[in-house]
Symmetry: C2
Subunit: 225 residues, 2 copies
């Protein structure tokens, strides 16, 4: 018998950079959202309810990341990954939570325990998944421009992509489809709006160019042991 904890790495993109959601408890340094999992509760259920109570984020898709030993085997912590459309999330610090904030992934305050390692693991996973799963769609609201989609990829991969190649690829793959509407905010030609197209991402060999970007990206070794 051991204490089983779960923590959640919540990732979003803002201003061309990936951000992580952190929270501060009274008298404590910054930490990841998380909770001890009671017996009789599943890991995912515990993670979802902790996330909602502590940060106000409801019903996202969670993916299990890794299970870490804590305190030399005294307990374990099951880390989860959660991708959200940052701009659309209203944050609501729960009872006992002093503050909830987004921090740029590589410019965050000191974290409690091994949380920094957990965070980095989450970032590596997102990068690796970008090659074969349409993760960027989880990081954007329901409708978005192709420019926004590209920015999300560039932030996640930390690598610039060629606009023409990118547009051709995502359209040919059927990853996105035009809604017909368009949006003008600020100067510049209004951009067409798109939504998830349900196209099979991995069918398109073209996206291997993103796999290459990943291979070149820093920190990609973490998942490749």
């Amino acid at each position: 018998m051991k204490p089983v904890r779960t923590e959640i790495v919540v990732i979003g993109v803002r201003e061309r950079r990936t951000h992580a959601l952190l929270l501060r408890l009274p008298g404590s340094v910054w930490a990841l959202p998380g909770v001890d999992v009671p017996a009789g509760t599943t890991l995912e259920a515990a993670a979802l309810s902790a996330l909602e109570e502590q940060t106000g984020i409801r019903g996202p898709h969670l993916e299990q990341l890794y299970t870490f030993d804590r305190d030399g085997g005294a307990g374990v912590c099951v880390a989860h990954l959660c991708l959200v459309a940052l701009e659309r999330q209203a944050l609501a610090p729960g009872p006992g939570v002093v503050e909830v904030r987004w921090f740029p992934m590589d410019d965050h305050p000191p974290l409690a325990g091994d949380a920094a390692a957990v965070l980095e693991y989450g970032r590596s996973r997102v990068r690796a998944k970008a090659a074969y799963a349409p993760i960027a769609l989880q990081l954007l609201p329901e409708s978005f421009t192709l420019g926004e989609l590209q920015v999300v990829y560039e932030a996640v991969l930390d690598h610039d992509l060629d606009t023409r190649n990118f547009r051709r690829d995502v359209l040919q793959a059927g990853i996105v489809e035009a809604t017909g509407a368009s949006r003008a905010d600020g100067p510049g030609r209004p951009a067409g709006l798109y939504r998830s197209g349900g196209g099979d991402f991995q069918v398109l060999a073209r996206e291997r160019r993103i796999a290459r970007a990943i291979a070149r990206a820093p920190g990609s070794d973490a998942l490749r042991r």
Copy 2:
């Protein structure tokens, strides 16, 4: 507080097929090696010692696979993956273990609980890793022929590879290096022996052909949620 268990999917290759190591306890059906992890013991340490005690396999490299809920959240089970050079492993059923045996991965007896799902998860992971990590080297003894290496890949990927392309790729990548020695067993020209070359596997884009084979392979969706 919950019971934390660990189980190990041990995989090897024999006769051109992937095999898994299973064991039988008295009055029980076949199951994966595993143990309840005592407080104060790390997951990996518990898994390693259970593996040695129950099957006689010592000191292999373990990789964490996934953490499963057990009995609706009553406990958790942290699955590990272990790749071994099957032919070189002497099996020694530990105290209380009736039998330890290798079974072809897709022709195994009924298993206790969710072990079949855990096993399948392990197989998917091996396949996925084959694209970017030299896993085949773990599945072979220290020195081996290129023919043996190719057979291992074909078994793992469940897909035939072109001999000339395969040899060119692994040699160019520096994955293996010739020992200079050669080996003649049975009829046929003696094969040169190779050892791990420490070459950076992922540097070589060529190995994408294996990534494709994976994409075509059955069951590859499991890891792509």
